[in-house]
């Protein structure tokens, strides 16, 4: 066991999807999905239920919970994940709260992110994981922010936020997209020099190089064939090597849908229809790639995985073969996760336990089985993360 390699961490990730799209609606769940389909009564019920599911994860011994940001869609009802994180900061006492992430280019001025993240870090006593993301393609339609500026705005916003946390204010920031004469963030974060930073991505080379350069952690976004994750993580390892260090497993996160029931047959019986609601009703529209959002060289790379995107899935056999969701009895789930964790080598497992229309009782039972029967075994199998050699990176 090499010195400094830390234990694998388990997170429960929630998308907070809208479960009530009517059967006769066959349009996209993004950008143009009519908001007349949103029932605020359902909203009241599911927001509270979904928060309960995240709070349950703390009781079950998870290391952290994850929320994320999406706009104007039925796939994930968290236009402000920071609101959810601030509730969780009060209602939990131990877990890390990972906001994965704030879509930086959508904030103007981005000092808002520095301020809100610092608030959450203060309220939670230093439990925030600060996720920063370029934002999905649909967000650029929903916000009218120019996708051709996405990468530049992300970089500038990131620089502003990090400096706001680490440099004495006030200071001036004059960039191409943001021109702020006074940056002077009150409050400042509890974690020093700043909270751990995660960046989610789907294999864009620019993003991976940015993460490697800054020694942040890269979260592989799900719904692709396992081969795509393997390639992304390989890219991340190589990018870190080019920066002159070996990746720390904690710099890698694998996000995957997980469902546990008493037996394999029971798991599939309870889960499959909800998985298909997710794939066929909530994913359509997520894959829209606005012009200029990705460089041509990255686009070519992303395209290599595009055919394996879950939206193209037709059969349950394909779901299983590609590891799109890990579904089964506690033994099966343990076995398949062990195998895939060994193959990918991440130090963070981000389980998506609720998905699509999966009801509250099945979600709760699955979380409980995972917490009591799967997680302890995986902790024993991976007592100190993946055996990656070399000096661990300082995960900031």
């Amino acid at each position: 066991m090499s010195e400094g390699v830390r234990e694998m961490r388990f997170f429960s990730f929630h998308l907070m999807p809208y479960p009530g799209l009517p059967d006769d609606y066959d349009g996209p769940a993004w950008v143009t999905c009519p908001n007349s389909l949103f029932d605020p009564g359902v909203g009241t019920q599911i927001y509270n239920r979904y928060l309960d599911e995240l709070i349950l994860a703390e009781e079950l011994g998870f290391d952290g919970v994850c929320v994320n940001e999406h706009h104007q869609n039925a796939y994930g009802l968290m236009p402000s994940p920071n609101l959810m994180a601030s509730i969780l900061a009060r209602q939990t006492s131990r877990v890390r709260i990972a906001v994965v992430g704030n879509a930086l280019p959508l904030y103007d001025p981005p000092t808002r992110v520095a301020e809100e993240f610092a608030m959450i870090d203060c309220i939670s006593g230093g439990r925030l994981i600060a996720g920063m993301v370029v934002g999905g393609g649909p967000e650029y339609y929903s916000s009218s922010i120019n996708p051709a500026h996405a990468r530049e705005r992300f970089q500038e916003a990131h620089d502003i936020i990090k400096r706001a946390w680490t440099e004495p204010g006030p200071f001036e920031f004059i960039g191409k997209h943001y021109k702020l004469r006074y940056v002077n963030s009150w409050p400042r974060p509890v974690q020093q020099p700043h909270p751990e930073i995660w960046v989610p991505g789907v294999g864009s080379l620019e993003t991976i190089e940015f993460v490697a350069r800054n020694r942040y952690a890269y979260m592989g976004i799900p719904y692709f064939h396992i081969d795509v994750f393997e390639r992304m993580f390989k890219m991340m390892r190589e990018a870190c090597q080019r920066e002159g260090y070996e990746v720390d497993p904690l710099q890698l996160g694998w996000l995957v849908p997980i469902f546990v029931a008493e037996t394999d047959a029971e798991a599939r019986r309870q889960y499959e229809e909800h998985f298909w609601y997710f794939v066929r009703r909530l994913l359509p529209g997520i894959n829209i790639s606005p012009p200029g959002y990705t460089s041509i060289r990255s686009y070519e790379n992303i395209l290599k995985g595009a055919k394996t995107f879950a939206l193209n899935l037709k059969t349950w056999d394909e779901v299983q073969a590609g590891q799109y969701a890990i579904v089964g009895s506690p033994d099966t789930v343990t076995e398949r996760l062990t195998e895939n964790l060994r193959r990918l080598g991440p130090g963070n497992l981000l389980g998506l336990f609720q998905l699509g229309t999966l009801p509250a009782d099945a979600t709760r039972r699955s979380l409980e089985l995972f917490g009591t029967e799967v997680m302890p075994k995986l902790r024993a199998t991976f007592p100190a993360g993946q055996p990656v050699l070399g000096a661990p990176a300082a995960v900031a």
Binding site: Y141, I145, N146, A148, I288, P290, P291, G292, L303
Partner: protein, 269 residues
Amino acid sequence: MGASLVDERLVTEIGAVQIFRGGTGDPVVYLHSAMGEGAGTLFLEDLAEERAVVAPVFPGFGASEGIESIEDMEDAVFHLLDVFDRLGLSSPAVVGLSLGGWMAAELAVRYPDRVGRLVLVNPAGLYLPGAEIKELFGRPLRELAQDMFADQSHPMAQMMSQLDIMAASEVEIPFEVLRPLLQSMAATAKLAWDPYLHDPKLARRLHRVSSPTLIVRGAQDTLVPRAHAEAYASGISRARLVEVDDAAHLLPLEKPDELVGLLRAHLAA
């Protein structure tokens, strides 16, 4: 029959750009649309039989460099001025399609004496409440082809539909086929994402255009509503509007002969 155009390079302030040139006579500058049409465009070759055709490829399109230095229409206009100066074009006739028509109008309101006769074909550039330009970005190509061509049997319309069918199937589309399309759309987004395909200040500046102006509209263009052609025609004092039947947004590709006829008459008048 037509004079074929030569693919040249011109070094500009912001990088080397590609220019298609051919023919002799009074110069006509052609500013392409978001499709980046240039070489092999029949109507340009026909026009080159009697005029010196100059078709600069805008930065970000084709092999033209410099899109990093272009943020908005202001930058586009200064780039065009640079190209004009380097080619010794003092006040050439300017023809622009769609995005190129918008660019031509932006040039003409700022530097009216640098534009001889002006021809705007299905120009973008204005915002008219109730007659908005349809979405160009992120739509299925076969759907876009409906707005672009009156006749869906046009080879380009067919190609757009085929690409869509391929994308939805297991067939791998060679990246070299997609690359020009991705580049063109990315460059267009820089100029036209927000505000969407218009400049809020353009309408009240149109009175500055002094050139005799021909507005050409494809009668079946469903991307840019007719009201836009009318607004240009009424905003520019010496403008005339002509509608071409059986043509949609990409009128120069669909009705090259008719367009050359109209240009010939307008440029000679």
